[in-house]
């Protein structure tokens, strides 16, 4: 902007006052000087007209309506769940919903939402793994399951034979342990010296447990990389499942994560 003086006002002063003038907050001699400059300056006169026109064009633009699913998408991408309450609201906007749909929405969605949580999936996976180990040890093979008959008598038969397997296995394990403890006793009697050595036998295990020098780091690392899921849990709906096992540790997790991210 050229910086010449016209009517005792410089162009840069005019520029500063222009917004005030258009806002209608300029008055008295300030306004007079401003107007006088606008009339006499070849640069600022047109600038005033254009700024005024541009302002009114912009003021004519009305607010646009965000997409209807925007809030739901935001909540899904931040708290990680489609909030069932919102879903119910969107549904109730539709003409007719059966009571069954409503029940499904209110009962099944929290459960489904919980099932989708990583922590729940992990626990479920571990439980399944443990079950499959037990079944394998008990001599039940997945291939056998294909031929399993679902007649009540057949189920009863399968149950008893599986129980027999398990009992049998348990008996075998017990014998092994018994033999082992006898051998240990025998050894102890043979070599009574070396105090603490026998006692220290469970010690390595104990040491392993307390040797957490590496663990906190790993744990933190996991927290760090799981930032999103922790945040998800922190703000998830307090459904029946979350109340049970997450409520106590969540604030701690979320606070530390925030700090790290900031």
């Amino acid at each position: 902007m050229p910086d010449h003086t016209s009517n005792g006002m410089q162009c840069n002063e005019f520029d500063v006052l222009l917004t005030d003038a258009l806002d209608g907050v300029l008055s008295g001699t300030g306004l007079d000087r401003f107007q006088a400059h606008a009339r006499s300056c070849a640069t600022c006169g047109p600038l005033l007209a254009e700024a005024e026109a541009g302002r009114s064009w912009l003021k004519g633009l009305s607010e646009v309506e965000p997409p209807v699913n925007l809030v739901m998408n935001i909540l899904a991408s931040t708290s990680g769940i489609d909030t069932q309450r919102l879903r119910v609201t969107t549904r109730s906007a539709q003409p007719h919903i059966s009571w069954w749909e409503r029940t499904q929405a209110s009962l099944l969605e929290p459960i489904w939402a919980t099932v989708r949580q990583p922590r729940f999936a992990m626990s479920f996976g571990m439980a399944f793994f443990a079950l499959s180990v037990v079944l394998t040890v008990a001599g039940v093979r997945p291939a056998d399951l294909r031929q399993v008959s679902l007649r009540p008598s057949a189920i009863r038969h399968a149950y008893y034979s599986t129980q027999a397997h398990v009992v049998h296995y348990y008996e075998n394990v017990r014998i092994v342990y018994e033999v082992e403890s006898r051998v240990r006793e025998l050894k102890r009697n043979v070599a009574p010296a070396e105090p603490g050595r026998r006692e220290s036998r469970p010690a390595p295990k104990k040491d392993d447990k307390n040797d957490t020098t590496q663990q906190p780091e790993q744990k933190q690392e996991r927290n760090y990389s799981q930032t999103n899921s922790n945040l998800i849990l922190a703000s998830a709906h307090r459904g029946p499942f979350l109340n049970g096992f997450n409520a106590c540790d969540l604030p701690v997790v979320s606070v530390s994560t925030y700090r790290r991210l900031v």
């Binding site: 500063v16 917004t19 541009g54 925007l70 809030v71 998408n73 935001i74 909540l75 991210l261």
Partner: protein, 199 residues
């Protein structure tokens, strides 16, 4: 514009894991953020993605908001603006070559003004014309430099005061006013040119 204590409480509840508080924040600010993004980025799709990004960023950094340092709305707008700057840098080339005659978006997807067929009834004509005018203004806005565009969006579309805008853009108030003046004037010049072509 906002009750500082109410917002501070809402933020505290949110940090403590209250999902209802977070939902309230989303409900309160999504429209504003979407509109800023829409007017700056030009397209509804981009605006939707950007709005989501803004809320993800907000969600992660909520604990850094300090109500003694400024209004929540200023903080939210600053996050939005910073993401828009990143977005602009990423899509610079496409954006600068946008023609003013291209329909702006799904919101105002009428024909360009220059191809208008003038055989409507009076009321329908006025309605179509008004829609096309906003579409043309929206397209002209996209042709302003980002510094001028953001200044006029925050002032004329979001009604923020100069002090707040200065805080968001991190420039002095004088610079804000100067950019608003130049933005408005440049927009008027662009529209003048368009209408001269049509008429």
């Amino acid at each position: 514009m906002e009750d500082v204590q109410v917002v501070a409480m809402l933020v505290r509840r949110c940090i403590a894991g209250d999902s209802a508080a977070w939902e309230e924040i989303v409900q309160t600010y999504h429209r504003r953020i979407y509109n800023i993004c829409y007017r700056f980025a030009g397209s509804g799709d981009d605006a939707q993605d950007l709005t989501q990004e803004v809320f993800i960023k907000m969600y992660r950094t909520l604990s850094s908001y300090d109500h003694t340092k400024g209004a929540f709305v200023t903080w939210v707008t600053t996050i939005t603006r910073n993401l828009l700057v990143d977005h602009f840098r990423k899509t610079k080339q496409d954006r600068m070559t946008d023609s003013m005659d291209t329909p702006a978006s799904e919101h105002e997807d009428a024909q360009p003004l220059s191809e208008q067929i003038p055989d409507h009834s009076a009321a329908a004509d006025a309605r179509v014309r008004s829609r096309e005018v906003s579409e043309t203004v929206h397209a002209a806005l996209a042709r302003l430099s980002p510094e001028l565009r953001e200044a006029v969006i925050l002032r004329d579309l979001q009604d923020m005061d100069y002090r707040e805008i200065a805080a968001v853009l991190k420039v002095p108030e004088g610079t804000v006013k100067s950019r608003i003046n130049r933005g408005r004037a440049e927009l008027a010049r662009l529209l003048q040119r368009t209408y001269r072509q049509v008429m």
